[in-house]
Each structure stands twice: as C-alpha cells, then as structure tokens.
Symmetry: C2
Subunit: 324 residues, 2 copies
C-alpha cells in the first residue's frame, strides 16, 4: 500500500460515517434534487476536504462527534462549486463520467448547486457555533470572489503570478484551510494550533491548485478522466501558461495569443507543451507547488510527533506526487 | 397620491438607509462583482421585501437598528435568485432593461448570484442571532427546493393546483414571510405576533406569485417591461394555465399541449387567452390571489389598529391591484 492509501485506510471508519451524513443530507422532498446531488456526490470525489477535517480533528485532545456532520458540510460546499463550475466551463466530463449538466441540464445543475450550498449553511447553523458560522460563511464568500476574479481575467495575457496566486487562494485554498481549522475546532486544539492548521491548509490548498493546473497540461489523460488542455481552451490563465508568456519571445507570445484566441488551442497542445518544455514552465510550476507543500509542512512544526501529524504530511506530499 | 405611494413615502427614510446598506455591501475586491451586482440591484427593484421588513419592525415597541442591515440581506437573497432565474429562463429583459446575463454573460450572472447569497449569509452571521440565522438559512434552502420543483414540473400538463401552490409557497412566499418575521424580531414583537407576521407574509407571498403568474398573461405590456407569455413559452405551469387545462375539452387540451410543445406558444397567445376567457381561468386566478390577500389580512387581527398595520394592509391589497 502506498503512504496515501495507508492514510485513507486509517481514517476509513470516520470517512464512512461522513459518507453517511452526506447521504442523510440528500433528503429533499424534491426528487430531482436528490438525484442530481447523489449523482454528483457519489460519482467518486476524492473527499480530500473531509479527510483533512477528520485528521485535524484528531490532532487535539478530545473530539466533538459532530465533526462527521461538518465533514459533509465541506463536501456539500465543494460539490456546489463543482456543479456551478461545470456550467461555467461547459464541461462535458467530470471524473471520467458525464458531468451532471450533461445528464440533467444546466438549470438543474445551477439549482442543485444552490441547494447544496444552502443545505450546508443549514447544517452549520444547526451546530450553533458562531466561530464556525463566521469561518464558513466568509470562506464561501471568498470562494465566489475567487471564481469571479478568475472569470474576469479570462484570456488576460498579462495576468501576473502574484494575482494568480491570490485568485487560487480565494477560490481553492480558502475551503481547504477552513476544513483544516474546522477539524481543529472540533478537536479542541489550542488557539495557536488552530491557526497553524489553517495556515497548513492555506499553503496546501495553493499547492493543490497549482498542481491541478499543471496536470491540466501533463496528466495521464486516462487517469485524469478528461481531455488535457481544458484550461487553455477556456482562456483560463494558470501558472504554466503565465510563466511561459512571461518568458518566451515576443513572436512566440503573439503566436500563443493568436492560438488561444482562435478558440481551439488544445488542438495544438503539443507545440504549446514543446514551448513550455523549452522555457521550463512545467517544472517551474511543479517547483512552486513543491515549495507551498514545504511551507504547509513547516506550519505543523508546533505539533508533537504523532501518526495524525504524519498523515497530514503524507496528504501534503500526495498533492504534488499524484499524476492525475 | 395612491395608498401604496403613501406607504412608500411614509417609510422612505428607512428604505433610503436600507439602500445605503445595499451599496455598502457591494465592496468586493473584485470589480466585476460590484459592477454586475450594482447593475442588477440598482436597476429598479420594487424593494417589497425590505418594505415589509421595515413596516413589521415598526409593529413592536422598540426597534433594533440593525433592521436596516437586515433589509439589505433579504434584498441580496432576492437578487441572487433573480440573477440565477434569468440564466435558467434565458431571459433577455428584466424590468424593461437588458437582463444582467445579456450584458455580462451567464457565467458572471451565476457567480455574482452566488456572491450575493454568500454575502447575505455573512451579514446575518455577523448579527450573531441564532433565531434569525436558522430562519434565513432554512428559507434559502426552501427557495432552491421550490425553484427545482418548478423545473421538474416543466411542461407537466397534469400539475395540480395543490402542488403548484406548494411550489410557489417554497420559491416565493418563504422569503416574504421570513422578511415579515425578521422585521417582527427586530421590532421585539411578542412571540404570537411574530408568527402572525410570518403567516401574513406567507399568504401575501402566495397571492403575490399568483398575481405575478396571472399578469404574465394579461399585464399592461409596456408597464411590465417585457413581453407577455414568457411562462408558457418556458413550459412553466402556472395557475391560469393549470385551471384552463383542467376545465377545457379534450380536443382543446390536446391543441394546447401541442402548442406548448411547439416551443412558440406565445405566438398564438391570443387564442390561448380566448380560451382562458371562455373558461374563466384568468378571473379564477385573480379570485384565488384575492382570497390569499384576505387570509393575509386576517392574520393581522391580533394587532391593535395603527398606521403600520394599515400600511401592511395596503401593501397586501396592492399586490392584487397592480396591473404590471
């Protein structure tokens, strides 16, 4: 078994209970909601956020049992964004299967996304804990800001790495860091430990997204479960492309811009990849992701050695080791 | 001045302050969010929900000043649903002006809808009042259920009036009743008065939607600010059509179904209206709306006579008097 498989195995029981909470939440009177939500939630998400929450809850002295419910909350929020993302991106495939919008239409995908988000809020409110309420509501607000920011920078060929990192911090890292901190809250860790878990999640979340954006160019296509080059097709400016555009020659930049504006850049993905190879753009992005993983792990320094701490380190490393 | 104009005038100062809170909430770092939200929020909504909240807050003995902030919250939620609705309906016009999606695209409309909803939640959470938190989160969940239910019944020619009423109770009445009750909470009314305001809003909300659905067939087109027959074009089963389909002859029903399935029923709106005239479908719907207004007003019985109570009665009557 690989290290990450070992981690999944170790927290399997708790994650199964989270899975139960997820299913229990899909009890709307409206059959269509349960159907679409179930299809999207059960079609093989990795459950990284619940896993992180569960591990972090174990970092303290005692666990509030409601951490399992909270595991479903972060997965509901994540799934809500996936449903909306697929509509935004006209995605046809998600995790190797037809995207929900392809089976149920855009309308149902938008509304069921809305439902999952509101259901998540209901569950947090019912826990009657202001700190968690604050954290999750501001997290969700940041996520929509990050997504909109990204949209506003579609085909912005001058997007800086700095702004890109801020966008992915908002759209991706915010929910991952919140998941870690919420776990800490449920595990009654000390105040500075909560912040350490938050920072761990923040850096891990950035690494996760940079790795994801890099894999969109170089993943094992079959294991990724969708075609490569989706981001550049949508005019989404991610780190490998940002690096390439800032380093290549003027003529090459003009060619790249023309290709992207043609609307079908993924048809010439091999020449883009050749340029990225030449200028080291893929390895640059991979190194940046590795740096954020390193930062994430450093944030765990304040914790004593434990199997749970090791599990967090393993998850952090997995984020950049995966090839899909 | 008409009675309803008098009401608007009487609460003008508070509503102006709500307007200030609305503008203050559009302070995202992301310029596109502020632009789309401002366009949609400032393009002339009637502000019925904030008005009801403000009047209800005045029904008690003392007012928590944060009712103005709460007025912005219900309008944010309402606007979030409008942005998503316009995407769902492929709407080109909203209130006589291009729908946001027509200027900024579906993607921005979906995301800014998400943003407004999350911002509304942040504002409620920051008020640190569990009762309001519960009420608003479950309201939003019901709204998405109502919307999805409606979608699931698109072109369902056997939809019953009973189910239709439940759908509009969820999608429309829930936020109106919540606005009334929240006003009551802010005005420190007694417990049974809170429930009375909630029931008032519930019945008013149903009347409001039935009237709206009827106006889609018979409104003054210029004042409505959009073409008639949008609902039937979208296969949306509303009360006049439900009534007609349940009363007309088999041959007429077949003709109607064929017309709706053709995708362009609004081109033959005059013959549909003739049938509705013949079977009294429009006047039936108008009478049902009037009945719900009557029920709404009855719920106010427990309150002593006051200018604020009279204002609520005037708003209730306005809902069925308006011709656009």
């Amino acid at each position: 078994m690989t290290d990450i498989d070992n981690v999944w195995f170790r927290y399997k029981e708790a994650l199964n209970q989270v899975e139960g909470e997820i299913k229990r939440g899909l009890d709307s009177e409206v059959a269509l909601i349960n159907e679409v939500a179930q299809y999207t939630l059960v079609s093989g998400g990795k459950r990284i956020r619940p896993l992180l929450l569960v591990i972090c809850a174990n970092m303290g002295q005692s666990i509030d049992k409601r951490y399992l419910l909270l595991g479903s909350v972060v997965e509901f929020i994540h799934t809500a964004t996936l449903l909306h993302d697929d509509v935004l991106d006209n995605a046809r495939i998600r995790r190797g299967q037809p995207a929900a919008r392809n089976l149920y239409g855009n309308q149902a995908s938008i509304l069921v996304g809305d439902f999952l988000y509101t259901r998540a809020v209901c569950r947090v409110v019912s826990m009657e804990n202001l700190e968690m309420n604050y954290l999750l509501s501001f997290t969700c607000s940041k996520m929509t800001e990050g997504e909109t920011w990204q949209l506003a920078h579609t085909s912005d060929f001058n997007l800086t790495e700095e702004r890109y990192l801020k966008i992915i911090a908002y759209k991706t890292a915010s929910l991952i860091s919140a998941s870690c901190k919420l776990g800490g809250v449920m595990g009654s860790v000390a105040s500075e430990e909560k912040e350490a878990l938050y920072s761990f999640g923040h850096n891990l979340g950035i690494a996760f997204q940079v790795a994801d954006d890099t894999l969109d160019y170089v993943a094992d296509k079959n294991r990724l479960g969708k075609a490569l080059g989706q981001d550049i097709k949508e005019g989404k400016m991610t780190l490998p492309l940002i690096h390439l555009l800032s380093r290549c020659q003027k003529k090459e930049k003009e060619m790249l811009i023309e290709l992207i504006q043609s609307g079908k850049p993924q048809k010439d993905l091999s020449s883009i990849l050749k340029l990225m190879e030449m200028y080291g753009s893929i390895s640059y992005a991979q190194k940046r992701a590795a740096l954020f993983v390193k930062k994430a792990k450093e944030k765990l320094r304040i914790f004593p050695r434990s199997t749970h701490k090791e599990a967090l380190q393993t998850v952090a490393e997995y984020v950049i080791l995966r090839d899909y």
